[in-house]
């Protein structure tokens, strides 16, 4: 038979309309929120993929975020459940699709769908079924997808800013983008290419698949071409292999990695010294320890038990727009999938509690208007809990400032 669609909640006149993923019974953890329960799915890299060290804190932060929302009265009396439908994608698009099929008939939307290529595998289906989803990724494709509620800048702009920064700081002549295949790495590489051209640098892109034993080609490329600057878009473990091995063979150029390439564990790895010597990290927002109200709320909610990690920061930031959209949908009295999507399209501003520039959070239409262009740069730092400290706060480089989006970067 058909899937048991949990819909049909909330009878009575003037009631909120619902279909899939919202029940009339309250959530099991929030019996006090009696209007009903909103089920949101989570598909993340939880056990063995390259981003597990990031994904686990992302998921944890989101759990805490929604707990906090529920404590504060939920979404106008509805509880939000993000723990019942949590699935592991191993950062593999095939698995991602498989587990998505498993849960899609049970949830209103996705509180997290981690990864760009993985989410790309289900994006068609998300669109067909109006399933509003929060990505855990920053590819520029999301600016063109209605159902995707992205936050912060994208890899494309992030890399432009990184190169502009490097040009200003150490005047490189050659740039190499070492990147994963797919919408993550290719997006960053596309941005790097634009910035390299604009700055008159030679540019080369080297694709490398995930997996420690797949890095030989990339290592050789870096060691034989010896670029002045490498824009790295991989996972942390592979980054350690590439940075460590190239350094061990005498590479002395600079690396700037996009934010998911970093993980505090790297400092303790054998490649730690190499990272300290060669590596900088770019990022879409300030690191865990920053001083905005949002950061503070996050740290308070997480409690003292956790060691800092920017997975938490990311998971936290990404959740704001969905909260806003749900609120708007309930206010519109339409919590159906379509209703939620309609609410998203009405969202022109999201309160990120200062974690993002005030203009952020415009989902009403034009990609160029919605996109956030600010990024920051950090460097490895043993003293900081996240292993990095900011060297250059939010800025927009000249390349990023003028860049016009008419399609995702990697498609041009």
């Amino acid at each position: 038979g058909r899937g048991d669609s949990g819909g049909g909640g909330g009878g009575g006149e003037g009631a909120v309309k619902t279909d899939v993923g919202v029940t009339a019974e309250p959530c099991k953890d929030t019996p006090n929120l009696t209007k009903g329960c909103i089920f949101l799915g989570t598909i993340s890299d939880l056990t063995s993929g390259p981003f597990k060290a990031l994904a686990v804190p992302i998921t944890e932060a989101q759990k805490k975020f929604w707990e906090r929302v529920n404590k504060a009265g939920g979404i106008d009396g509805y509880g939000v459940d993000v723990t019942t439908y949590v699935r592991d994608n191993k950062y593999n698009p095939e698995t991602h699709n498989q587990v998505y099929q498993e849960i899609k008939s049970k949830v209103l939307g996705l509180a997290q769908t981690l990864g760009s290529p993985t989410t790309a595998a289900i994006i068609g289906d998300l669109g067909d079924n109006n399933i509003v989803s929060v990505p855990a990724s920053w590819t520029s494709a999301w600016a063109f997808e209605d159902v995707i509620l992205e936050s912060g800048t994208n890899y494309c702009l992030e890399s432009m800013n990184a190169i502009d920064y490097a040009v200003e700081q150490f005047k490189p002549k050659s740039v190499m983008a070492v990147h994963y295949p797919g919408d993550y790495g290719e997006d960053a590489a596309a941005g790097a290419k634009v910035a390299a051209e604009k700055n008159g640098l030679t540019f080369e892109a080297v694709e490398t698949a995930s997996g420690q034993d797949n890095q030989a080609g990339a290592i050789n490329a870096v060691n034989s071409k010896k670029p002045d600057l490498v824009i790295l878009t991989t996972g942390p473990t592979d980054a350690a292999v590439i940075v460590g091995q190239t350094a061990a063979r005498g590479f002395t150029g600079k690396y700037i990695g996009t934010s998911p390439t970093w993980n505090p564990g790297l400092l303790k790895s054998p490649a730690g010294p190499a990272f300290k010597a060669l590596y900088l990290q770019s990022g879409p927002w300030e690191t865990f320890t920053a001083d905005t109200p949002g950061h503070k709320n996050m740290r308070d909610t997480l409690g003292t038990g956790v060691t800092g990690n920017d997975g938490y920061t990311a998971g936290w930031v990404w959740s704001y727009p969905l909260q806003a959209a749900l609120k708007k949908a309930v206010a519109n009295k339409d919590l159906s999938r379509e209703g939620l999507l309609k609410a998203v399209k009405q969202l022109d501003k999201v309160d990120y509690e200062g974690m993002l520039p005030a203009s952020a959070g415009n989902f009403t239409g034009d990609a160029n208007a919605g996109v956030v262009r600010e990024t920051m740069i950090a460097k490895p730092d043993d003293a900081s809990p996240t292993g990095v400290s900011t060297v250059k706060p939010f800025f927009v480089g000249p390349t990023a400032k003028d860049y016009k989006f008419d399609k995702p970067c990697f498609q041009s």
Binding site: G3, T47, N92, E102, P117, P181
Partner: protein, 379 residues
């Protein structure tokens, strides 16, 4: 030599309570009444209760298992029947999956597509291309034995992985992948829900019908001259040669047929799953198929089906552990949470199972049957 059912007409097969009145009757696939009844009952159940009584999520899983079963039957043909242990099954599954994906893919996308979505076309093509690949590889098998062959076929998987990762226009590349084959029959998308049936129901019924066809064909094959020749090649190849069975020919045939099955299975499997990523066609996939064959019972078609369903369903079943055993956390990331326990349980099941009954699920069935036959005597 020409009399067929006259003179030695009635013979009693040892151990069977039935009388046969002709060789033809004796040679039937289901040559006893209980067998006939059991199979009819199973098919009815599978065709009625399952698709209309179970939720879509389970149908999806069943469809996956049924498609895998076709592949498992294929592996059983080359490994269980013809004795050539192949760890290269994933490679042939991949060839099938990509042939079908490319044929049925939408033209003009990032990956190759010809837009031929009519299912019989891409299914047959997938089988044929994989079968031809099998025939090309087979001559190696005639030179190698046992684990040497197994590891060489494993090499095939690694080489295949490399090619599939590099050939991005076909596969979409590692970590990205492409849309699987598009199952369409007479203008109907089978993987999309319609007015009458959901996508999962349709895909389930499709895989069920195809599995029955493939299983009956396989059963016919193994009880024929060809099946006997496979067994001969497996058990004693010099003796087989001396009595007139060309060892090379039948090894090649076994590889070809097995790969044909694998190709069709790969295509179907990914039509069900929806997305193909080149890294999936790895050693683990091959080994899972070997496990299906062994757990089901090498050298039995029904065993392969049981094994395939078992191996595909087990991970999902272990996910239900927290509902049965409340002390297990359902938190995916907890060290001893359901996700981890499910994997441990999966490993333990395989171990315990094969220790307890190395002949597999089929062996358990035989035991049960013998027990009731011999009951109440021991010896």
């Amino acid at each position: 030599m020409t009399d067929q059912r006259s003179t030695k007409a009635s013979r009693q097969l040892w151990g069977r309570p039935e009388l046969y009145t002709s060789y033809g009757q004796n040679l039937r696939m289901l040559n006893t009444r209980p067998k006939q009844l059991a199979v009819v009952a199973m098919v009815l159940l599978a065709a009625t209760y399952v698709p209309f009584g179970l939720p879509d999520e389970w149908l999806h899983l069943f469809a996956t298992g049924l498609a895998a079963a076709i592949g498992a039957i294929g592996l059983n043909i080359v490994t269980g029947y013809a004795g050539q242990v192949s760890l290269g099954h994933a490679f042939f599954l991949a060839i099938g999956a990509y042939t079908a994906s490319a044929l049925s893919g939408e033209p003009g996308r990032r990956t190759i597509g010809f837009g031929i979505t009519f299912l019989p076309v891409w299914l047959l093509a997938a089988g044929l291309v994989a079968g031809i690949a099998g025939v090309i590889v087979a001559p190696l098998a005639t030179r190698l034995r046992g684990l040497y062959l197994a590891i060489v076929t494993l090499g095939l998987v690694f080489l295949g992985l490399h090619i599939f990762k590099e050939w991005k226009s076909l596969t979409g590349g590692p970590g990205v992948g492409r849309q699987g084959p598009v199952p369409e029959l007479f203008g109907q998308r089978l993987d999309r829900s319609g007015d009458l049936l959901t996508g999962d129901q349709k895909m389930y019924l499709l895989t069920l019908v195809l599995l029955i066809i493939f299983a009956v064909f396989a059963r016919n094959l193994v009880r024929s001259k060809v099946g006997r020749a496979f067994a001969a090649v497996r058990d004693r190849d010099i003796a087989a040669d001396v009595i007139g069975v060309s060892v090379t020919r039948y090894k090649v045939l076994a590889f070809g047929i097995s790969s044909f099955y694998a190709g069709c299975a790969g295509a179907l499997l990914y039509a069900v799953l929806g997305r193909v990523e080149p890294d999936s066609f790895n050693l683990l996939l091959s080994i899972q198929f070997v496990a299906m064959v062994l757990i089901g019972g090498a050298g039995t078609i029904s065993g392969s089906i049981m094994g395939a369903l078992f191996i595909t369903m087990l991970p999902r079943l272990t996910q239900e552990l927290p509902t049965v055993l409340p002390f297990i956390s359902s938190d995916v990331t907890a060290p001893l949470g359901a996700a981890n326990l499910a994997i441990i349980f999966y490993g333990l099941m395989i171990i315990l199972f094969l220790i307890f009954e190395p002949r597999g699920l089929f062996g358990i069935w035989i035991r049960v049957r013998n027990y009731f036959k011999a009951w109440p005597f021991s010896y």
